[in-house]
Amino acid sequence: MSLLIRYAEQSRPSVRFFLDGQAVSALAGDTLLTAVLTVRERLRTTEFTGSPRAGFCMMGACQDCWVQVRRGDGPVQRLRACSTLLEADMSLSTTSAPPPVIAEEPKP
């Protein structure tokens, strides 16, 4: 289930990324927040009570959308989902666990 509903610009090219290790897709030009919330109902859980959150202000003010992201086998970064654009093959985590390194697919 998704939280956000696409109303426009649905013809943008599709972009693959990984959410808690699973391959999913979003559209080019999506923020991390849009990318996650068009395939899931939450973005993260809070540190103290574990309750689900999905961002709030979408403009970099509330800071309720920081997520852990990994590019390739690089280090884990914390990024603000509403103000970071999605890149292909990013690995994102919606839990407190760091996002996994995604193994290269074997070339056919």
């Binding site: 939280l3 109902e41 103290f48 709030f56």
Partner: protein, 461 residues
């Protein structure tokens, strides 16, 4: 003219900052324009990421399309003059210099003259259920639609007060969402009462009336004088419970809820720079002092746009140009006095309008503070409840928000009180039975937004 050796710096590329930068450039200066966002436009004229499939300006900005386009294109003719730096967060001001974060690198930028055009974000009052997925700020709901082509749900409710409530409901309905209700805490009578002031800007008023009429014509239920009760749902919002103006409890099913009570200015940097502040009873907020031209209490530091008090997008453009002219004048440049007169006259109308608007759509602070229950989370970041706040008040009698912050952690989290500050102030004042201006304001701390520990200083290879 005695030009200062350092280029003037403008923070914020919204309507205020862009007009300021362009005005400086037109007068021969080469300003630096800093903005955290990737593209110019600020909040109201925010642009989606460039790329195929982008909507037209009229699809994106409706009536404001021409203004939006003008703002977006305003920098281009001065591309060789204005050093525009997008994706650049100003995270600190200290002793005549700014600290910038861009692409994981931090750099220091000295200034002699500076225009703060940092804009505003939503002001919220917490309600039970407001931290659930599916509940967003009104502005957030609009940005999702404008910058991402996404809505916060398919059946949505907008709750709070202010003109944005109606505009966003209209935009959602036009985009194809079902707007289940528009719930305004302000009584309709206040709008009538303050009509004379609202007539200061007849065109803006007409637009507002148009949205309201449109909503009515398309059968969108609009209720005024309501009291929010709670949002309900199992880990995502499923309905809103509210009380109508007659005190009857109502239940509206939805899968998206936008809440907001007007806007709050981003004043952290001006505060850190040392600008004097005063409490403004209309905004119920501390605002940096400025004269009618936008001069702050500090020499060489100017303020423009919503960052210095909520006055709207058109006023931001006027204020940006006026502040730039003040800067030029203070540096000894010759400026056109008739232009100044035009700007000041227009600004006076904006101020009359703003005064009426803020009175027509007031923050329902007193009612909120009286009824807030102990288990309500006020601070999203640290998950601090109203009960925690009250316990701290009982224990320590803090008379100052900063003491409250030190003891209860409210306002101490990632957002530094941007989301909980108004609520904490209202509740603390209510607990003491004092005015909200008697408890000081939360001191901003460096960095004003989170920065990575792994930042590299610019001069490192």
């Amino acid at each position: 003219m005695s030009q200062s050796p350092l280029p003037p710096v403008v923070i914020g590329a919204g309507p205020a900052g862009i007009r300021a930068a362009v005005t400086l450039a037109r007068h021969g200066l080469s300003p630096i324009l800093l903005d955290e966002s990737p593209r110019p436009g600020g909040q109201i004229y925010r642009q989606p990421p460039a790329g195929p499939g982008q909507r037209s300006a009229s699809e994106l900005y409706g009536f404001e399309a021409a203004k939006a386009t003008a703002i977006h294109q305003a920098l281009a003719p001065y591309a060789d003059r204005i050093d525009y730096r997008p994706d650049t967060l100003v995270w600190n001001v200290e002793r005549g210099a700014l600290d910038l974060l861009s692409n994981g690198r931090t750099a220091t930028l000295a200034y002699h003259s500076l225009i703060f055009a940092t804009g505003a974000t939503d002001r919220v009052l917490p309600m039970p259920g407001w931290t659930m997925p599916g509940v967003f700020t009104l502005g957030g709901a609009q940005i999702a639609l404008k910058a991402q082509g996404c809505g916060i749900g398919s059946t949505v409710v907008f709750l709070g007060t202010g003109p944005l409530l109606y505009l966003i409901a209209y935009q959602y309905a036009k985009a194809g969402a079902t707007v289940a209700a528009v719930l305004d805490t302000s009584a309709f009578g206040l709008r009538i009462k303050h009509l004379p002031g609202l007539l200061a800007l007849p065109k803006v008023l007409a637009k507002g009336l148009y949205y309201t009429a449109w909503l009515k014509a398309y059968g969108v239920p609009v209720y005024t004088g309501i009291t929010p009760v709670r949002a309900e749902g199992n880990e995502r919002v499923a309905s809103v419970i509210w009380q109508d103006s007659a005190g009857r409890q109502q239940h509206t099913a939805c899968d998206g809820l936008g809440i907001g009570y007007g806007l709050r200015p981003e004043t952290q940097l001006a505060d850190m720079a040392g600008c004097a502040f005063s409490f403004n009873p209309l905004d119920r907020a501390w605002l940096p002092d400025r004269d009618s031209a936008g001069r702050s209490s500090l020499a060489g530091v100017y303020l423009a746009g919503d960052g210095a008090g909520i006055t709207g997008a058109d006023a931001a453009e006027v204020g940006g140009e006026r502040a730039a002219l003040a800067l030029l004048q203070d540096q000894g440049a010759t400026i056109d006095p008739s232009r100044v007169a035009v700007l000041e006259k227009r600004m006076a109308a904006f101020v009359r309008f703003r005064t009426a608007l803020l009175q027509a759509f007031p923050l329902p602070a007193a009612r909120w503070a009286e009824t807030v229950s102990d288990d309500l989370v006020l601070c999203r970041c640290e998950e601090i409840t109203a009960g925690d706040l009250r316990a701290t008040v009982r224990k320590d009698q803090p008379r100052d928000l900063n003491r409250l912050k030190a003891l209860s952690r409210i306002g101490m989290g990632r957002c530094q009180g941007r989301m909980c500050g108004a609520a904490a102030a209202e509740l603390l004042a209510h607990q003491h039975g004092c005015a909200v201006n008697d408890i000081a304001r939360i001191r901003p701390q460096t960095p004003i937004k989170p920065i990575p520990i792994g930042v590299t200083p610019e001069n490192t290879p």
